[in-house]
């Protein structure tokens, strides 16, 4: 009997031990970032220089997009609205703790979201969040958000990747600590070197699959590909499609193509001559052959866009055709007082690997309409501070956002990241009307009217929404095949 008990105890202990080992976080997951914000890089999600490769792993949102982009519970378990959608009540998850040990509760929600509206901080997300007038702490685990207007899609707005929950009063230090409730905790923040994240064993969705995440600064796109090839990093989400063949036949890597709402573009400042004339802007946009750009730059893996930033799968996207029209472009230039065409300089950097190629192809395409494009390469480091929104023409790239968010953030006359300095009263009114409209069809019509205004007037040429070629080391397992901001990072494992 004693012997049987001994054997039973030994077996039981072994099972417990194996179970613990199987569930312990192990291995290191190495990723990179492009250091695009240079010295301004920080861990405060609502600022311009946020290092999103870190904050999306250390902090949670109230609401997150599920694998299909639909708002789903995160730190908020459920929500409801009053009859005219001007008040939204969110119930919060209980028993959640920040990395610093403090409990997550309603005052943290109020602090995190109201802080994003603070004009002194000047967050790029402030414009879209302006609809929130006040946040009432109903009890420790319930908040009521009072809006300035009806907003039927309000939970969608809260899925924005920057609206992360941080501890109340942590605003002064969050840029360096990155404290949140997420699956990983910041162990060492080194924006120009390697930032090290440790697994949060108390994570509310379960302990992460990896013990550490290393986020390594590699500004050059080709260097990032070499880093992947040599094993310095385990994942590259910006591999150009013309390099897919390198990885397709290599068993050490896994390639995944993910349709996204991310877009690339060429931005003309509408407050700067000659682009202050809408005819010049439209002439440039009409002179571009978007399908050829898709084929040459993306190897066909993108969806043509007619200068709308709204993603192809979004319910509010305006569907239209916009083939290259050289004669109309020439006519518009003539009417604008430029019968001999115009000359402009564009400034690509390799931080987005496709920018130089986009610039070269556009250069050839628009030349047919009498538009001479000079290309001047600029350093990747600090591109967003030195070139973007500074030069008359610059290159841009955006990650996907819901229709309302991206239209507000990139084009509303009061938006901080209104990169083309676009100001149009009709456009702003359509956005306001759409938000307050409870009837879906009328709301859709208003959003589409706004997009039509962009087609006629905007300063941003958006040729396509990209499909993303994500290449990972074959050691990486359980990585969701979705956009960056919907991935459940705690599930990732590295063999």
């Amino acid at each position: 009997m004693k012997y049987i008990l001994k054997v039973f105890s030994a077996t039981f202990m072994s099972l417990i031990l194996s179970f613990s080992i199987a569930n312990a976080s192990s291995g290191v997951f190495k990723v990179s970032h492009d250091l695009g914000f240079g010295k301004d890089t920080n861990l405060d999600a609502i600022t311009k220089g946020r290092l999103f490769q870190v904050v999306i792993k250390t902090q949670n949102r109230l609401v997150r997009p599920d694998m299909n982009g639909v708002p789903s519970p995160s730190l908020s378990t459920d929500w409801s609205a009053n009859s005219d959608a001007t008040e939204w009540t969110f119930n919060l998850r209980k028993g959640i703790y920040f990395h610093d040990g403090s409990a997550f509760d309603a005052p943290d929600v109020k602090y995190s979201l109201m802080r994003a509206k603070d004009p002194d901080i000047g967050s790029p997300v402030r414009k879209s969040l302006n609809v929130v007038e006040d946040i009432e702490v109903v009890d420790q685990h319930t908040v009521k958000m009072k809006l300035s207007t009806s907003f039927a899609d309000f939970p969608l707005l809260l899925t924005d990747y920057r609206l992360r929950m941080i501890p109340e009063g942590s605003g002064d230090t969050i840029g360096q600590t990155g404290v949140g409730t997420g699956p990983f905790m910041v162990d060492k923040f080194d924006p120009e070197g390697t930032t090290i994240l440790k697994a949060n064993p108390e994570y509310w969705e379960g302990a992460p699959g990896v013990a550490e995440v290393h986020v390594i600064a590699i500004p050059d796109a080709q260097a990032r590909i070499q880093a992947l090839l040599t094993g310095q990093i385990d994942m590259n989400r910006y591999v150009p499609f013309n390099q897919k063949k390198i990885f397709d036949s290599n068993s050490k890597f896994t390639t995944t193509v993910i349709p996204t709402g991310n877009w690339r573009g060429v931005v003309m400042r509408t407050d700067t001559a000659p682009f202050d004339n809408p005819k010049v802007r439209k002439a440039f946009r009409l002179a571009v052959d978007r399908q050829e750009l898709v084929d040459l730059v993306m190897g066909g893996a993108a969806t043509v866009s007619c200068d709308t930033p709204v993603m192809p799968s979004d319910q509010y996207r305006l569907q239209m055709d916009c083939p290259q029209n050289i004669s109309k472009a020439k006519n518009l230039l003539r009417e604008a007082g430029f019968p001999n065409g115009i000359e402009l300089t564009v400034y690509p950097a390799t931080l987005e690997p496709t920018w130089p190629t986009i610039a070269e192809v556009v250069q050839q395409q628009v030349a047919k309409a009498g538009i001479k494009v000079n290309i001047e390469m600029v350093p990747s480091k600090g591109y967003w501070n030195e070139v973007w929104m500074k030069k008359p023409v610059s290159m841009t790239r955006w990650n996907q956002r819901p229709a309302d968010t991206i239209l507000h953030e990139a084009y509303h006359s009061g938006a901080k990241w209104n990169e083309s300095y676009f100001k149009n009263a009709d456009f702003d009114k359509n956005l306001a009307d759409a938000r307050s409209e409870l009837d879906f069809n009328k709301r859709k019509k208003a959003y589409q009217n706004a997009q039509m205004t962009l087609w006629e007037q905007s300063g941003t040429m958006i040729p396509y929404h990209v499909s993303r070629l994500v290449v990972t080391s074959s050691k990486v397992k359980n990585l969701d095949a979705v956009d960056h901001f919907s991935i459940q990072w705690h599930k990732v494992k590295v063999d």
Partner: protein, 297 residues
């Protein structure tokens, strides 16, 4: 009449001397190979616009990354452009920029070095310390700063490269001048009351010219490499101008499956650098300059 005869004799002597140097250079296999390669590249650069089979700018999704064939001898690149066309036009860009850059380097570096060597004293000290200071700055960082501020046009690149590659020539020219200023004919010229400019022009330049020219030839090949490095980093000439460094940079990621798009510019660049180096060595030997003991400073 007598003066005309003397001038003609001088020109004849110069031509004969140049021919002799060329003959000496070509008498060694390395010199002959170097001269042949450089001549090949120069001729190709001169006639390339008239013999290219395609428009170097023409992009097309239908001809992306085609392997070498009878239609496209060196294949096509990722934008469907003919690699042969871009390779031979790329040599023209590299030779033009670096030839004029070297000329500027030779002129300012040579003249300033000779002047410092001749006048000596505090002026020499100050100028050489400034040159030393510039020599301590990594040229690529300085060039990146310049092109970031002023752009990447050839009007910026040529003088900037000329300036940075001329710094070393200052030291060589100064050292060569020190070797000759103690000689009797300089002392005589000074005793005759000749000005510094006259002494530089009539007495020193003819005696240090060979050393400076050899140094200039070497600097040319280094400049070629430097210019291509800048282009590789994206800060050389602007697209769509065909350029070897830019072509290598654009195609390096495709090397494992579209090797043709990167091999041609690599061969073009390395052969020209080897050719110039061999020619410069042969040139030095033909002039009796031993570069193994008089390495560039």
């Amino acid at each position: 009449m007598e003066n005309n005869l003397i001038t003609e004799d001088k020109q004849k002597n110069k031509l004969e001397k140049a021919f002799e140097i060329l003959k000496t250079m070509a008498s060694k296999p390395s010199g002959l190979i170097g001269l042949t390669i450089v001549l090949f590249h120069v001729v190709l650069a001169l006639i390339s616009p008239y013999i290219v089979p395609y428009d170097y700018k023409a992009i097309s999704p239908n001809t992306m990354l085609l392997a070498p064939s009878a239609e496209h001898w060196f294949g096509t690149d990722s934008l469907g452009r003919d690699v042969f066309t871009r390779t031979i036009l790329g040599g023209r860009t590299a030779l033009t920029v670096t030839f004029f850059g070297s000329l500027i380097a030779l002129l300012w570096g040579g003249l300033l070095g000779i002047f410092c060597g001749l006048v000596g004293g505090k002026i020499d000290d100050v100028v050489m310390r400034v040159v030393d200071a510039f020599l301590s700055i990594p040229w690529i960082l300085a060039m990146l700063l310049i092109v970031s501020l002023l752009g990447t046009s050839t009007e910026v690149l040529i003088p900037a490269l000329g300036f940075f590659y001329g710094k070393g020539i200052v030291r060589v020219a100064r050292a060569a001048t020190h070797d000759v200023i103690a000689k009797d004919f300089i002392v005589s010229a000074r005793a005759r009351g000749h000005s510094n400019m006259s002494i530089i022009w009539n007495e020193i330049i003819p005696n240090v010219r060979d050393a400076i020219l050899v140094e200039g030839a070497m600097r040319w090949s280094w400049m070629l490499l430097g210019f291509s490095s800048l282009s590789f980093l994206g800060f050389g000439v602007s697209p769509p101008t065909p350029d070897w460094g830019l072509m290598i940079s654009n195609a390096r990621g495709l090397m494992s499956f579209a090797y043709w798009s990167v091999i041609a510019p690599i061969v073009g660049l390395s052969s020209l650098i080897i050719g110039i180096n061999l020619t410069a060595d042969a040139f030095a030997k033909a002039l009796g300059i031993d570069r193994s003991t008089k390495a560039p400073v």
